[in-house]
């Protein structure tokens, strides 16, 4: 969707035009579903995450964030967050109910992340980040650590880690932005 099309859609949403949400669904649902599937690997759960994101879009249609981020990035992030929350719930329940013998703990996330960021464009964009920013993104985005856990792991103050995350994400948005629209 073009920037002008996005702006028009945002304007219609803010005006309570319900057909705009249907249009947004047709434009963005497929990508949102793909993002959710990367986290959930379960079609029904991924669809739940997508539906949650679009209902949330309607709820926040008049807010500043949708306008500032653009509908596509906003939906992708909210879908991913919904998927992560569903995955956490599923993991807690399955661990509680199914684990007679605990499964082995996961490997060190940063080692896995460094070894497995295979997509070339993504790899290049991450490689171009300053070392400390790259480490935050690898741990927090790919490794699933919270920023507080990143701070503990790297020995950096939490505020510094958050600043690095912000700078890294802004840089990645510029580098990879064409894909995200």
């Amino acid at each position: 969707m073009t920037a002008s099309g996005d702006a028009e859609l945002i304007s219609r949403l803010a005006g309570d035009d319900r057909s705009a949400i249907d249009e947004a669904y047709r434009a963005f649902a497929h990508r949102c579903k793909a993002v959710a599937m990367r986290t959930l690997s379960d079609d029904a759960l991924a669809q739940d995450a997508v539906q949650e994101a679009f209902l949330s879009l309607w709820h926040h249609r008049s807010g500043l964030v949708v306008r500032a981020a653009g509908i596509g990035p906003w939906l992708v992030v909210v879908t991913r967050n919904a998927a992560l929350n569903l995955a956490r719930t599923a993991r807690r329940r399955s661990a509680r109910e199914a684990a007679h013998a605990p499964l082995e703990s996961a490997p060190d996330p940063i080692e896995v992340a460094v070894a497995n960021v295979e997509a070339a464009g993504l790899h290049d964009a991450i490689e171009r980040l300053p070392d400390e920013q790259r480490r935050v993104i690898l741990l927090a985005y790919f490794g699933g650590a919270t920023l507080a856990e990143v701070a503990a792991r790297t020995g950096s103050p939490l505020g510094t880690v958050k600043r690095r995350a912000q700078l890294a994400l802004a840089r990645l948005a510029r580098t990879l932005g064409g894909v995200a629209r």
Partner: protein, 192 residues
């Protein structure tokens, strides 16, 4: 309303916050230009990462299931418009319908899948009408076929941590064996 949750904006964009925390931060940012701008920057970065990964993901051999018809939005939106507080309840209802709830409320059995290259468990309804796979220690990002009694019922892809889960409904019936088969490793349960 919270005062400039600056430290939480990146956490929200990265998916660290639970629903209630995220909602509170978003509500603030929706009416605060300063926080909206910072959150939007972080969102664009995360969306770029997520979209890049999806765009560059190898195509699956099996086409993705079609999206359900978007007409569900009519009902969902009508309820949301009638009462702003209702949508959260609806979402909880949606989330409560996830298959793993069956694990809590149904009688089930589970079996360890043995082999080299990871660990996995198959959880099944006693009547065999659904199965759930949870695995760890797999090769990150690799795809694995799930076989029940020698028949492929689906596949999972390990995440960056080498973990994978999947749930499938099937025709009820006794399950005598199961396997999680990857390119260079297979985990099996042979019914004993």
């Amino acid at each position: 309303m919270i005062e400039h949750p600056t430290g939480l904006l990146q956490s929200l964009a990265l998916g660290e916050l639970d629903r209630d925390e995220a909602l509170a931060v978003m509500e603030h940012a929706d009416s605060c230009a300063e926080c909206a701008g910072e959150l939007a920057d972080a969102m664009r970065g995360v969306a770029a990462l997520a979209s890049s990964a999806v765009a560059e993901q190898p195509r699956s051999a099996k086409p993705a299931a079609r999206l359900r018809d978007s007409r569900w939005l009519v009902g969902g939106l009508a309820a949301a418009v009638l009462a702003l507080g209702v949508w959260n309840v609806q979402l909880e209802t949606t989330a409560a319908s996830v298959p793993v709830d069956a694990l809590v409320h149904s009688h089930f059995a589970h079996h360890a899948l043995a082999g080299i290259g990871g660990q996995a468990k198959l959880i099944q309804a006693l009547d065999g009408s659904w199965v759930y796979i949870v695995a760890t220690g797999l090769r990150p990002l690799r795809a694995y076929d799930v076989l029940v009694d020698g028949t492929k019922i689906g596949s999972v892809r390990a995440d960056l941590r080498g973990e994978a889960t999947g749930y499938w409904r099937r025709q009820a019936g006794k399950i005598s064996s199961a396997a999680l088969a990857g390119q260079d490793s297979t985990l099996r349960w042979d019914g004993r």
